[in-house]
């Protein structure tokens, strides 16, 4: 399968520059991870001795003057998703593998783009200039990735026919295999893909197991990994900024309830429940926390959803005081079996909530509130309780 790979080098940094152009004027390091396990996610080009995923302490020891930026991963993904949306106008098969690495299936596109030049022109048109893309075309994902990696900035490289000459001098470190295997290859004195390709299959398999076969196939430029195109799915997203930073679980749950309420109002009419949702929070110093929750049975009511969210938030504590939080409902589903009440009065509360909701819609803002205890232990009196709209 012919694959076109689009590499957007230093993608997180470019996203930060997109938001704040001043960052592009001086060296910067973007870090991610929680607590003491902070790693380098990206850095300004030209900073010697740095590489992604290296410990932040080590990076700062080498480049102490660089500005430190906390990674805003949801923002990078939202920018990346916009780029993928654009690329989907060029090919229906688009896989966003990692931030800044995209694969497009281009078989059959010759009916629209008679040659590669026109296809490349079409792809570049949908990529924002700031990202300086490198594009590669080859048979299979790995060769296309290599072609992109070795193409000039804003340029492209196409690998056709026998690519063994191109691959032979490339280092083994570029293979998408485990670090353990790469380290063992070095120990055996095998440093280039050419050396690997020349080896018989048997010894490689005996030393590396199933990965040995894959290593040799990749070294020969053969990659049959299938393309996993993005699937269409309806996502309901919402976020809110808290009135003040908090470590209180109750405050966060009140806000989560507020975000979930319109979701339930929207899906309940269709008889749907929430099968899967993603929670995220951002702390006052921009640290990101995210958890995905899968429900065995789609949840149909707020109480069940909040009780599960509470358990998750208790088991995975926040990295610091939370300033902003949000959720995305990623999958909806129909309940397998649900018994309705025979008695009308059981639905009395639902009717009341519906009336309150109607009143809110008519007046344009919440009209009926209830007092909720959020930080009863707080030394600051106005933090202890909040008025939350009823029915949310």
């Amino acid at each position: 399968m012919r694959i076109l790979c689009v590499l957007l080098p230093h993608f997180p940094l470019k996203c930060e520059i997109l938001r704040n152009p001043e960052i592009g004027t001086h060296p910067a390091v973007i870090s991610c991870g929680a607590g003491s396990r902070k790693l380098v996610l990206d850095y300004s080009p030209g900073l010697d001795g740095l590489q992604t995923d290296m410990p932040l302490q080590q990076a700062l020891a080498r480049q102490g003057k660089a500005e430190l930026i906390q990674a805003d991963v949801p923002y990078y993904w939202s920018v990346f998703n916009q780029i993928l949306d654009g690329l989907e106008t060029r090919s229906p098969l688009v896989e966003g593998d990692k931030l800044g690495i995209t694969y497009l299936g281009i078989d059959g596109l010759q009916l629209i783009y008679p040659d590669d030049d026109r296809l490349l022109k079409g792809v570049k048109e949908v990529l924002p200039e700031i990202f300086v893309p490198q594009i590669g075309i080859a048979e299979g994902k790995f060769p296309a990735y290599l072609a992109a990696g070795y193409s000039p900035p804003n340029g492209s490289k196409t690998l056709t026919g026998d690519i063994s000459t191109f691959l032979s001098s490339l280092p083994c470190d570029i293979l998408p295999v485990s670090m353990k295997s790469k380290s063992r290859l070095r120990d055996f004195g095998i440093n280039t893909l050419g050396q690997l390709a020349a080896m018989p299959e048997g010894p490689l398999q005996s030393q590396f197991g199933p990965e040995g076969r894959r290593i040799q196939e990749l070294a020969g430029g053969n990659d049959d990994t299938p393309l996993y195109p993005r699937l269409w799915e309806e996502v309901i997203e919402g976020s809110t900024t808290l009135p003040s930073v908090t470590v209180s679980l109750e405050t966060m749950l009140v806000a989560m309830e507020g975000l979930l309420s319109p979701v339930f109002a929207r899906i309940a009419l269709k008889g749907l429940g929430i099968s899967s949702l993603t929670l995220w929070t951002r702390t006052w110093d921009s640290e990101h926390w995210e958890r995905k929750i899968q429900f065995k049975e789609p949840v149909m009511d707020m109480q069940a959803a909040v009780s599960r969210i509470r358990r998750v938030m208790e088991n995975f504590p926040q990295p610091g005081p939370v300033e902003e939080l949000g959720l995305g409902v990623t999958r909806l589903g129909y309940p397998r079996g649900r018994q309705k009440s025979l008695f009308r009065e059981v639905r009395g509360k639902d009717n009341l909530l519906e009336d309150i909701h109607q009143l809110e819609l008519r007046q344009g803002n919440p009209q009926v509130f209830k007092i909720k205890e959020v930080e009863p232990w707080s030394r600051i009196p106005e933090r202890r309780y909040v008025l939350a709209p009823t029915g949310r």
Binding site: E237, T241, V254, F369, R379, P381, Y385
Partner: protein
């Protein structure tokens, strides 16, 4: 995917309860409250308790308050505080 409307996100629907209210206070030379306008001027008969709160010092708007539980000449009790950031007086139930 639901399109982003671009609206600034905020917790507009949640309201804090027991927010402090500004109040006019006459102070003596040492900063202790002498009289309070609520809205009638009332002399402070005694300061029963005093405590200080310093919090969120790491934020742009830290909290630094000096609270006084006072007994007014009329016999009413009132909790006042002086905001040490903006030097204004507020009343608030504690």
């Amino acid at each position: 995917m639901v399109q982003d409307t671009g609206k600034t996100l905020r917790a507009g629907t949640y309201r804090s309860v027991n927010l402090p209210e500004t109040v006019e206070v006459e102070e003596d030379a040492s900063g202790l409250p002498l009289a309070v306008k609520t809205p009638r001027r009332q002399a402070v008969a005694s300061v029963e308790e005093r405590w200080r709160i310093d919090d969120e010092w790491w934020r742009r708007e830290p909290v630094s308050r000096l609270y006084y539980s006072v007994c007014l000449a009329s016999g009413h009790r009132l909790v006042l505080y002086k905001d040490l950031i903006d030097n204004c007086w507020y009343k608030q139930s504690y």
